[in-house]
Point group: C2
Chain length 265, copies 2
Amino acid sequence: MTEALSAPNSPAALRSLIRAGRWLSPTAGLTPGFAQANLVVLPHAWAYEFLLFCQRNPKPCPLLEVTDTGNWEPIASAPGADLRQDLPYYHVYQNGELVERRRNILDLWQGDWVAFLLGCSFTFEEGLLEAGVPVRHIACGRNVPMYRTTIGCRPAGRFSGPMVVSMRPIPADLVVRSVQVTSRYPAVHGAPVHIGDPATIGIADLMCPDYGDQPDVRPGDVPIFWACGVTPQAVATAAKTDLMVTHAPGHMFITDIPTASLAVF
Amino acid sequence: MTEALSAPNSPAALRSLIRAGRWLSPTAGLTPGFAQANLVVLPHAWAYEFLLFCQRNPKPCPLLEVTDTGNWEPIASAPGADLRQDLPYYHVYQNGELVERRRNILDLWQGDWVAFLLGCSFTFEEGLLEAGVPVRHIACGRNVPMYRTTIGCRPAGRFSGPMVVSMRPIPADLVVRSVQVTSRYPAVHGAPVHIGDPATIGIADLMCPDYGDQPDVRPGDVPIFWACGVTPQAVATAAKTDLMVTHAPGHMFITDIPTASLAVF
């Protein structure tokens, strides 16, 4: 039986709680001031092309760390952590199909696996809130809406596909501020990729996102679109990698990286 | 016989002149407003570890582009260009030793070669000069002084070693401005890695650089150190890659990338 717990503010303490199976919920809003990360684990045979895909598409795929082949410890972003068991839930894909949701991947881990940690928009949402910009989906307790677009990613080997974006409706008088705030954080998707008309980037119906929840758009709001960390998962799924492990949506890896240290200045 | 030519201001026109063998000089100061790049070519068997080294050490190794394996065209940074013949001079290394200086590598190029283009400090020097910050080595027609330091790079596979830095003596009242200006360009080494006492980063004698020319330090100048693009060449040489091709020092690749487009904002 899991007792009701308030989450600790230290990343290491929260990771311990997660490892012990005592925190199984989404991580949004936890350990304020520290960056959270998307996880993608691939066999070494896919690692070069994936790394190249990230280099060519830094807005949807901002790399925070790539582990040494076979090593589950992210020595730069969270020394002592274990990427096999320090996230609440994992998704396992085989040949592009989701086959399992798991609490850890201790018994799956292979000596040729490489873990990629990618910046997550939770980090810049903290910056928006601090700057007085409302974040609608947080206010109403939903997941951010996400959409496939007609913006093509630059292909790399077997990886290619359209960019997936997240959308936040922003009051018109705060649009400029939201560009400024998020521009400071290129390591967590950075500045928006589009402002305004969804049709321009191939989105037919703003109220029908491809991932996440329906948006809460209020009168006077302008839709602002940011490159989304679902993109690399989507292209890896389309490439039908023989194996891929990711975090379960919303259940991110908590790093020791202070958000402020990611700001360009 | 090469007639005296003034360099064209367009990157494509200058690359044509270079390809025709009519421009054989260093490229510093040419095509103002466009980024120049360091070239490192490695066989595919070394490419993943080198790409990972660049990911882990973005200040000395800011990647502008990585070509597809076997492809000599930098399709993102200079479509139509040919990295086998559009630089004035190339250096060829075997097992870590410089074995040849060449006008082109047309007959050497192999189907498993990968070309890496890395940002070059010529780009931020333009920004310093525009901001009224004197750049001493340019003023006296010398090469920038460069030093091995005790700052360790994060290793990646067979690549490891100390960071190499370049040094520019800056008048004390312009030190802050020089930090601000170069911070805008992370894609070309970005902000300094050290300001002041050379001994702090393991430099015994500022007047005896390990590469480049002796500095011109004037009364009231403060030495400022930036991560240097010689770093990746130095670690690749130390790793004794079976083969590596680079630009000859000072003879860079001219991209079509406007300098202004590299500014973070």
